[in-house]
Subunit: 389 residues, 2 copies
């Protein structure tokens, strides 16, 4: 087991009607708030009114900035930074899913920074200071509500890049499963693929004898797999939505990572897809992850056997372990298909004429290898895109 530091300080406020506590929680951190959100959904659902009411009752002034899109854009982040500076905002409240939260985090680190906020995403600057950020989560997927990172897309060149640091962890996150009842099945499924990817990226590691976190990862995956078809079929099943929502947070709050070295290649390989084609990140992962697995499973068949047996309940073939390993991958792909996700580029309507370009961008023309479980060069990444066709 590797040495680690684990400190997840985000206060999780979970359950029915918890969004009404947002005024009290926010008042502990700021007096003038940027209310950051996406489209009209939170208006139509009445959530925005509830939030504004709670903030005003707590004596908080607010400035609004809506319009966050999936794969949140740098231009809006810059607009937010300007707005916060103009109005001397001291707290950012993100109401939405991962895109809104990531955008809020980017604004948060941009405000006290003299240079271009993209410096953090291009690796030129290190996150040290931020405006505090709070969250009301409406879409369980990214885990951003208690993670210390953010992913932003720069329109110029459609570069999708991430950055992180302990300061970026939200101060509180309010999670009411009822707010997720209205998420359409496809978006629900995309969220499920995203959270499963977060677990699997920790699971496939070269660090051995980390049985406890192996078990926690498998437990989280099995829970998601159990409740996923229920939330697709019965979108207003509170307990199923609640289990999925909490699993999505735990999947990415660093607990499952303790003592291990993860492999984020699949996320990065997918980022090139959703950066260019604006496909939902979760759908992209449902396409890329099985392809990545087929390409790398030879590296550690035992681990893929364990994955197949413990996560998917595959009957183990003790003499031909590869059969078991491949059956696990097949079950994952079948599961994604069952919940309504594309599992190939073709099914997602993505052409295969820019695979070389994506592989080159992903590996920065082969100067930057991807992954740690297996280190991937530009040509490896290209093969994975080809397997995903």
């Amino acid at each position: 087991m590797q040495n680690f530091v684990f400190s997840n300080s985000t206060k999780i406020i979970f359950g029915k009607n918890t969004e009404k506590q947002v005024g009290v929680e926010t008042a502990q951190w700021g007096k003038k708030v940027l209310l950051h959100y996406g489209g009209g959904h939170i208006v139509r659902s009445g959530l925005k009114d509830t939030v504004i009411h709670a903030l005003k009752e707590a004596g908080i002034e607010l400035i609004e900035l809506g319009g966050v899109k999936p794969n949140p854009r740098l231009s809006l982040v810059n607009e937010g930074i300007k707005l916060c500076r103009e109005h001397q905002v001291d707290f950012i409240l993100a109401v939405g899913g991962g895109s809104v939260i990531d955008s809020a985090k980017a604004i948060g680190i941009g405000v006290p920074y003299d240079g271009d906020v993209w410096d953090f995403y291009s690796g030129k600057a290190k996150v040290e200071k931020t405006l505090p950020v709070g969250v009301i989560l409406t879409l369980p997927a990214s885990g951003s509500e208690s993670s210390d990172s953010s992913v932003i897309t720069k329109e110029e060149g459609w570069l999708k890049r991430g950055c992180g640091g302990p300061a970026m962890r939200p101060k509180f996150a309010i999670l009411n499963p009822e707010l997720t009842f209205s998420i359409p099945p496809y978006q629900t499924a995309c969220g499920i693929a995203d959270m499963m990817a977060h677990v699997m990226e920790r699971y496939f590691t070269n660090v051995h004898d980390v049985g406890f976190t192996d078990q926690l990862c498998e437990a989280t995956l099995r829970s998601i797999i159990h409740y996923a078809p229920i939330v697709i079929e019965e979108p207003e099943n509170y307990n199923a939505r609640a289990n999925i929502m909490w699993a999505g947070t735990v999947a990415h709050n660093d607990l499952l990572h303790t003592g291990r070295i993860g492999d984020w290649a699949s996320h990065n390989i997918e980022h090139e897809l959703s950066g260019i084609y604006d496909v939902a990140h979760g759908a992209g992962l449902a396409i890329i992850f099985p392809a990545w697995m087929k390409y790398v499973y030879h590296h550690d068949v035992d681990r893929f056997v364990q994955f197949a047996v413990r996560v998917w309940g595959v009957e183990q073939d003790y003499y031909y372990p590869e059969r078991t390993a491949l059956e696990g991958i097949r079950r994952l792909q079948e599961f994604f298909r069952q919940i309504g996700l594309p599992t190939t580029l073709k099914e997602a309507g993505i052409p295969d004429d820019r695979l070389e370009e994506m592989a080159a961008k992903c590996t920065a023309d082969d100067t930057q290898l991807q992954g740690s479980f297996v280190q991937l060069s530009q040509s490896d990444v290209l093969e994975i895109y080809k397997l995903a066709r």
Copy 2:
């Protein structure tokens, strides 16, 4: 699923040589430290010298108070409070196991409190303020290193009582599995029983459809069960010690509790045992828990079947579920025996002539029922003691 707030702010610093970071971590909280510990073990092992050196290097003054015993005593807590006030101590560093940490927490809340510190334990006062506490853990068991509670024994009447509150959570906890290599097998096993009890007390709940935390509980138990015989047989197996140590912390950091209502009857029934007989708390739990299970399993056979199948790998009898449930309880008891623990009062050399007295104390003469999974009266508790003979 129940509404919940989850906020575990203790910074965990885990791994080899991490005790050397104690100066830097402590300096963030205080300048004058009470170094609180138990017996000569940390002197003989050289840990005390390492800690003092690290603290002095960070410019920290220190006062010492050793002598904490298992089932830590109120009299020493009062001595610590006096010492802290006299020397204007601003931070308490606990170096040891759960008893030392619980004693440090008690001193921490006692210092800024005008009345008798026992008020917190007798329910007369509520914890609001404390001196900050840090931990170097040497015995994985109690989970006190990141929990928000403490259990103290008052010598007068040998009352063993707990109290808690968010303020009591340690600021940091340093966990180096190497420091646990020298724990003798019996004490190791007692720690294992304690951490398993913490999980099982959360597992047996009347809240249904909490599948995610069910899975996390089962994963934690299976991990402990897997690594327990290894740490008993190979006390210097780093990875096995590390998995056990981290599982012991997670077992009691509130994650496994989220959305559920736990049942702490077994802990309280055991407290009367170890309060009177000074038996190790973990050994007491190995005696009481199977007896409690035999007494209550009728209340929810399905849950005990799930426990048997998922935790112990019992082959399910679909027609006679009680057989499966009872086999799970038998396996638990057998496991405790296998790692060298007593599983009856007789095996622990405890006579059965004060069972009525313990049952009465535990339920405060039947005005106070124990448990929530099944609510237990004085006569129920007496039956459990009898089953444990």
